[in-house]
Amino acid sequence: MTTQPVHFYQIGSFAVGNRLLSDDERTVQSNLDRTNSIDSGHRACQGCGEALGARYALDAAMRATNGQIVAVNATGCLEVFSTPYPETSWRIPWLHSLFGNAPAVATGVAAALRVKGNRDVRVVAQAGDGGTVDIGFGCLSGMFERNDDVLFICYDNEGYMNTGVQRSAATPPAARTATTEVVGPEPGNIFGQGKDLPRIAMAHDIPYVATATVADLHDLERKVERAMELHGARYLHVLVPCPLGWGSASNETIHIARLAKESGLFPVFEAENGKVTSVSKIRRQVPVEDYLSIQRRFAHLFGKNPRPDVVAHIQEMADQNIARYGLVDEDADSKEMAE
C-alpha cells in the first residue's frame, strides 16, 4: 500500500517531477541528466512556448532512443532563434534546409540512414504551423503517404510569428494578426474551418497521430515515447502559445495552453492507424472566455463593442470538439487516475 501510486494524485501529482517518485517513474524534464537538446542562450522571446515544446519533445525522443536522434528543421522562429551564426543552441545533429521542405528533407535523411543500414538512428522533423499546414503541406502529405520513418512535430503557435505575426491556416477565427487586423465589420481572422492537420494526418492512416500541449508534460513525453516505439510516418501536433503573437503575459504560456485544452478548443488525443485510441479528458472545464479573454489578439471580442456572438461561435467549436472526442467525463478524476 505504501507503493500506491503517489504519481498521479496527492502532492504535486501533475507537476513535472516529484521527489517521491523513483527515477524511472520521473519525467525526462525532471532528470538532472536530461539532454537539453536545445540549450540555453537561444534567442527566443521571454516565455516562448515553442522553445519549451521543442526541448520537451526532443529530450523525450533522446531518452526514448538513447540519444540516437537526427533533427530536421523548417524555417521559422525555432530555426532562427536557435541557430543565428555564430551560435547554435542544438546539442543534436540538426539540419535546416527550407521553409516548405522539412518533411521531404527528413525523408531523405531517413532513406540515407536506411540505405546505410543504420537502424538505430531515428529522424525527427519539426516545423511551426506555417511550415506544416501551409507551405510544407504538400511535402508533409507526401511523407505521410509514403509512410517514411519520420516523426514530424508541428509546434503550433497559430500564426507566422517569425515574420511578425501574420495569419496562417492554423490561426483561429477572430484572432488578430498583422494580416487580419481588427477593422471592418468582422474584425480579426475570418471564420473558416481552419486546417485540422491532426485529422488530415489521420486520414492518411499513418501509424501514429497525436496532439499535446506544453501544459501537460507527462502526456507530451508519453506520446513522444510511444511515437518512438513505432516505425513509419508519425505526427505530433503540439500547441505552443506565443506571448508575442497572442498578446499574453510571458508567464502565462503554460496556463494558456492549459486553458486551450480545458476549454475544449484544443482537443488532446492520440490515434493509431487512423483511429482515435485515447483522449485526455478535460479535468476542470472552463468556458472559452477564460481562454480568449487573457489574450490581446482576442481583446476586440470583449472591448468597447463586445462580440458575444463570436465568442458563442467559438464556444460552439469547443463544444463540437468535446462531442467529437468525448472530452468531458462524468468521473474525470478517477479517469485521470486510471491513466
Binding site: 494524485y9 507537476a15 517531477g17 525532471s30 540555453s40 516565455g47 542544438w90 504560456t253
Partner: protein
Amino acid sequence: MEIPFAITLDVGTSRANHTGSWRVERPVYVDRMPPCNDACPAGENIQGWLYEAESGNYEAAWRKLVEENPIPAIMGRVCFHPCETACNRVQVDEAVGINAVERFLGDLAIEKGWDLPPVGTDTGKRILVVGAGPAGLSATYHLRRLGHQVRLVDSAPQLGGMMRYGIPAYRLPREVLDAEIARIVAMGVEVELGHVVHDIDQERREGGFDAVFLAVGAQLGKRVNIPAGDSSHIIDAVSFLHQVADDDPPLLGRRVVIYGGGDTAFDAARTARRLGATDAVIVYRRNRERMGASGEELEQALGEGITVRWLSTVNKFEGDRIVLEKMELNAEGFPEPTGEFEELDADSLVLALGQDTDLSLLDQASDVTVEDGAVEVQASMMAGASGIFAGGDAVPADRTATVAVGHGKKAAHGIDDFVMGRIPAQKDRHELATFDRLNTWYYADAPRTKRPELEKIRRQTNFEEVIGGLHEDNALFEARRCLSCGNCFECDNCFGVCPDNAVIKLGPSQRYQFDYDFCKGCGICVKECPCGAIEMVPERI
C-alpha cells in the same frame, strides 16, 4: 569534421550568449508561512513534519514535530486542530487530516519507544514550574532542552493536570497520557506531587529558583445560585470529571441534566452516559451557533444519544424536577428571559458554566497584575518584571491544551532569555502562504473511491479509542495530501518549465537555484510553482 564556414556550427555554442541581460525582473525562491503552522497555537512546523511523513520517514517527521510539541499522541487526540480549519486544501477538496497524522506519529513513537531530543548542557539555572498540565509539561520539556534544571510541582497526586482530571479517558487513554509524560520526566525533572504552593515568592526564595512558571490552570468550577431543595444533587463539572478520573465517580442517577455549552459540558454529558445515565440532557441558554464546544463534539454527543435544550436556563431544581426558562436572543445576540417555563425530570444537575483559577499563591507577589481571574503577561509570558512567568488557563487566552502547550514553549524561551540575561530576539515571521499564491492545478483530488475511507478515518480521530487512528498506508496518503503551502517540495516544475534551461537542480533535498546568466525573467516558474515558493522581484537596472 572540418565544417564549412558559418553555414555549419558546433553544438551548444549559444551558451556564450548570456540572455540574462534581457531580464527586468528576477525570480527568487522564498519560504512562506503555511496557514497550518500559522494557526497552530503550539507553533508546530506542520508543513515541515508532513514533508518528512510524505516520504514515509516517520521518525524524522516525529522529531520535527516534537521540536515544538513534546506530546503529539495527546495532541493528536485532544487538539481541536485550528490547523485543519486554516488548511488551504479546504479550497481544493478538504483539509489535510493533520491531527490524524499527528496522532499516528505520536502513537508510533510510543510504540517504537523513540526518545525525545537530548537535554541541553547544564546552565546551572533552576526553574520552578507550578502545575503539571499541558503548559507546565511543555515548559518543562523546553526548559530541559535549554539546559535548565526544572522542579515540577503539582497539587494533584498524578501528573497531567486537566489532561488527566478534565479530559475523560475515552478521549485520551491514560496509557497514552502516561507514556508521553513519562518521556518528559525521563529528561531528568524533579517532580513533587500533592504539593500545594501557597506563596510563590516564598517558594521561589526558599528553593533558590531563578524563575518561576505558573501553569496552575483553572480548576474551580464556576457556581451560580440556583434555588434548590436540600435533596437535590448538584455538582460542578470539573469536580465531577476529576472524581471520575480518580476512579471515584459520584452517583448521579439515571436522569442527568448538564448546564452549559462548552467542551466541559459535553465531556460531562458523555461521561455521564458512560456512567450509566439513560438521559443526559444539556441545557444551554444560547443556540447552537453560539455554543462554545466544537460542532464535531456536538455531533459525536448527539450520536451517543445526548439531547440538548437550546435557549434555556435552569430556573430552579426541586425534588426530581428542574424548571427551565425559555430564552430568546436579542439584537446583540444576548439571551433574554421570555417568562415561559417548562419542567424536566432530573436526578442530578451538573454545572458546566466555566472554570476559575485559584491564584491565591500570588497574593503576596509584587508587581504581578491579576485581572478578572487571570494573570496579565507580556509577549514573553512574563508577568511583570519579576521573573515570574505564567501560561495556560491561568492567563487570558483560549483555554485549550494546545494553547497551553504553546504557552509552555513560549514561556520556556522567555525564561531562558530572562535567566541568561538575554534580550529576547525578534523572530520575524514569513509572509503567509495564502491560497491565491498556489497553483492548485498540480494537486490532484484524491480519487473518489478513496474518499469515504479517508473521511471516516478523519472523523474517527477524535473519537472513541475503540476505533483506531490511521495506519501506515493511509497516514502516508493523508500526509501526501499536503500542498506544502509556500515551501518548496521539489516537484521539479521550475526546473522543467523554464524555456531557457535557466534553473539548476541541486539534487535531492537540495532544492534548486536560478542561472541568472540565462534567465530571461519570463516568470513561468513563478506562475507554475504549485506551492508559491518563488516570487518575482524587480531587477536594479
